[in-house]
């Protein structure tokens, strides 16, 4: 008889925080107390609150322990498991300091989860992703059964079309329409493909879905294959995600064992199987034609369209390609209907979207919200605000293809069209929060360095144009820029957008354009005043001594290059030509008289 279930997160975030050794320690401790038959330890997928990992939840109470270390284990076992007394001091709380910790505070009551709506992530942190029976117990493969036994392919496409689901990988193309186009292609053999080459830095929702609920993707691909008339599926996944690859492998094998992949699935004449192909570290392979070229064993360069993948895809076979999160929504839509899905979200963006919250925010992690939630709700309520009392400056969405949303637009409801209208894009869902200490020109430069590095080199506007853009940005951040440079940079942006072959080049200027749009004053400060307002760009940084100086000479004695002069009890001065900006003086000064500008 099992009386307690203990869930431990086995996602990448918590694994990096040591959840594996924690699990071993817990199992050993339970065994020591002869409880191994009464308490079941379950390794799950991502709960979302990665910042507080490793995360442990004890049922039936639902007590939510955060940042659990091995030395807390004996106490949790002896107090909570044996004596039934919840160890309050280890519980997660978003209560203010001094307030009583509510021991019954379960996961769903916390601010972090209250405004979330979990559809794509519904099983993450709930089931053990390495056991197919747990997925089936949560209605798994029921949608596939329904589709194969009660619906025609046209019915399936109609439901997906009616639901209003749009591609979650970036562009937001209507999924139903994509399926319809693929279904209309006449061919003996067709493929479906899952794009799990999640390359946007700062986005990890696809990884978490594959780690936490791999069967949902397998089931959805089978449904898609039935709808478009395909017999085989490919999953193209980043090799950087070893845990996700491994769990997907296990899941595929289990699905084959259960006859959910293979021939005559559910006793019908539908046959479908799939295989995994690994990426090798090329951002451009997230672009669907480049992805297909890569699977074929070539340099992952995009191809011109037409022909579209729905006519000529992998190995010239018509292929329908969707992103992981898009697939993860499919079984739920089939089970609950298009109307249910359409009831969430905004007019043109239905359902929910998963975001990876990162950067300068208290609750870094994974959140799933209904479309139309405002940025303010995400940052302040769910994300817990900006740490260290700093001010919110901007949020970056869409990775290297997206843009920055300034503080003045924090009340914008998040959906596909709103984000595009304010110069950013949904992208795959990375949401990086920046505070007043981040320099927007530096951020634009960071993304440009990324795209320059990742441009495949096939087309000139992207290969050479992004490089020239980076040169302008380097000039500006090192204090050598002119106002003319800013204008030329902007002009170049529009040229590259209009003339690049694939999405990478067409969107590469977005980080620059959006920061120019909202933070032009910062660019101008770098150029006109040779000053970095956030104090990030090293070449423009200077240390200065204020009136608070008492003339103690400590800074002058510690300066490695003797750049500080002044006599005892008098205001000291830094010789800017000699200063190497090492910051020793600032750290030594007891009167906070030295400031970075």
């Amino acid at each position: 008889m099992i009386r307690n279930h203990i869930l431990i997160c086995g996602g990448t975030g918590c694994t990096s925080s040591g959840s594996k050794s924690l699990m071993e320690a817990l199992e050993a401790e339970l065994k020591k107390n002869d409880l191994q038959d009464e308490v079941k330890v379950v390794m799950t997928g991502c709960f979302g609150l990665c910042a507080l990992g490793p995360i442990m939840i004890v049922y039936p109470e639902g007590s939510f322990y955060s940042r659990v270390t091995e030395d807390m284990v004996p106490e949790i076992v002896s107090e909570h498991i044996i004596k039934g007394r919840i160890v309050k001091k280890y519980l997660y709380t978003d209560a203010k300091e001094g307030e009583e910790v509510d021991a019954t505070n379960s996961l769903n009551d916390t601010n972090f989860y209250k405004k979330q709506k979990r559809v794509a992530l519904r099983n993450c942190g709930v089931i053990n992703p390495e056991i197919i029976d747990e997925y089936i117990a949560y209605d798994g493969y029921e949608a596939l059964g329904k589709v194969l036994t009660e619906m025609t392919p046209a019915d399936v496409i109609k439901v997906i079309k009616d639901s209003g689901l749009r591609g979650r990988g970036g562009g937001g193309f209507p999924t139903g329409l994509k399926w319809d186009l693929a279904a209309r292609t006449v061919a003996d053999v067709k493929y479906v493909c899952c794009n799990a080459d999640e390359g946007d830095p700062g986005a990890f929702m696809d990884r978490s879905i594959l780690e936490g609920d791999p069967h949902a993707v397998i089931e959805a691909m089978a449904i898609a294959a039935y709808a478009v008339g395909a017999c085989k599926g490919f999953v193209y996944i980043r090799a950087e995600y070893p845990i996700a690859v491994n769990r997907l492998r296990i899941a595929i094998e289990q699905a084959r064992e259960y006859g959910l992949l293979g021939n005559n699935i559910f006793g019908t004449d539908f046959n479908f199987d799939m295989e995994i192909r690994l990426g090798a570290g090329a951002f451009v392979c997230g672009e669907e034609t480049a992805l297909m070229t890569s699977i074929e064993g070539n340099r992952g360069e995009p191809r011109p369209r037409p022909p579209f993948p729905s006519e000529k895809g992998i190995f010239q076979i018509p292929t329908m390609n969707c992103n992981v999160e898009t697939y993860a929504n499919i079984p739920q839509i089939i089970l609950h209907g298009a109307e249910w899905f359409g009831s969430m979200g905004t007019e043109k963006s239905k359902g929910t979207k998963v975001f990876a919250l990162g950067g300068k925010i208290t609750n870094t992690g994974l959140v799933e919200i209904p479309m139309g939630t405002t940025l303010r709700e995400v940052i302040e309520d769910i994300g817990g605000g900006i740490p260290n009392g700093k001010k919110f400056k901007a949020a970056q969405t869409g990775g290297p293809s997206g843009g920055c949303i300034p503080a003045s637009l924090i009340d914008t409801p998040i959906d596909y069209d709103n984000l595009v209208a304010i110069g950013s894009m949904m992208g795959s869902g990375g949401l990086i929060v920046m505070d007043e200490d981040n320099c927007m020109v530096d951020i634009a430069k960071f993304f440009l360095e990324f795209t320059v590095d990742e441009s495949c080199g096939k087309c000139t506007p992207c290969r050479i144009g992004t490089k020239r853009m980076l040169e302008y940005l380097n000039k500006i951040t090192s204090g050598k820029g002119t106002m003319k440079d800013i204008d030329e940079l902007e002009e170049l942006c529009y040229y590259i957008k209009a003339n690049s072959l694939c999405g990478l080049g067409q969107t590469a200027p977005n980080p620059v354009l959006s920061t120019l749009r909202y933070f032009r004053d910062e660019y101008e400060a770098h150029v006109k005043e040779k000053r970095c307002p956030a104090g990030v760009c090293k070449d423009l940084m200077r240390y200065e001594i204020t009136d608070a100086c008492k003339g103690c000479t400590l800074c002058a004695r510690n300066c490695p290059v003797n750049a500080i002069s002044g006599t005892v009890k008098e205001l000291h001065v830094i010789d800017q030509d000699k200063c190497i900006k090492c910051g020793v003086c600032e750290s030594k000064c007891k009167f906070k008289a030295i400031i970075k500008k």
């Binding site: 990992g53 830095p201 700062g202 950087e240 192909r277 090798a280 570290g281 990375g430």
Partner: protein, 164 residues
């Protein structure tokens, strides 16, 4: 072929045997090159021209095509890696939280630049793309170990563990 630090190829017969088995396993599937190269790199640790030649003959794919593919993808390496592979994440979340400073500190301590290997073969250093541990930013990895929520001051102590 330019190679910054030429290391003589030290492949063994056993490794070659393993590679030939890998080639035989994948030869008849569609698009065999990527999986073969991935497994070849697991066997040898890197993909020197000698290994590419074996793959070329085994799969009947021109060597220049293979060289083109190997040099296209960041994960394929023409040079051997150190015993301890250090990867500093420069994804956005880590960058915003100061992983650039972490990288500089590591460079200073082990005395090599990104893409290089220490002369004793102990450490190699990479600046990696997002490894998806954004919740723990900034992070760096040493082989399979992940270190997160770092400040610059933590770096020396962590590296010390691998120094002896």
């Amino acid at each position: 072929m330019s190679n910054k630090n030429p290391v003589p190829f030290k492949g063994t017969k056993e490794q070659e045997q393993k590679l030939l088995e890998v080639i035989a396993k994948h030869k008849d599937q569609d698009g065999p090159l990527m999986p073969v190269l991935q497994e070849a790199q697991e066997i040898y640790g890197y993909l020197p021209i000698e290994v590419q030649k074996i793959v070329s003959e085994g799969l009947d794919i021109p060597l220049e095509h293979i060289y083109g593919v190997v040099t296209f993808y960041a994960q394929f390496s023409l040079a051997p890696k150190g015993e301890y592979k250090i990867g500093v994440c420069l994804g956005t979340a880590c960058y915003v939280k100061g992983s650039g400073d972490i990288l500089n500190k590591i460079k200073e301590i082990i005395g090599i630049d990104v893409g290089e290997c220490t002369p004793d073969g102990k450490f190699s250093l990479e600046a990696t793309r997002c490894i998806g541990a954004c919740g723990l930013a900034p992070v760096f990895t040493v082989n399979e170990d992940v270190y997160g929520r770092l400040v610059v001051g933590d770096v020396a102590d962590i590296l010390k563990k691998y120094m002896d």
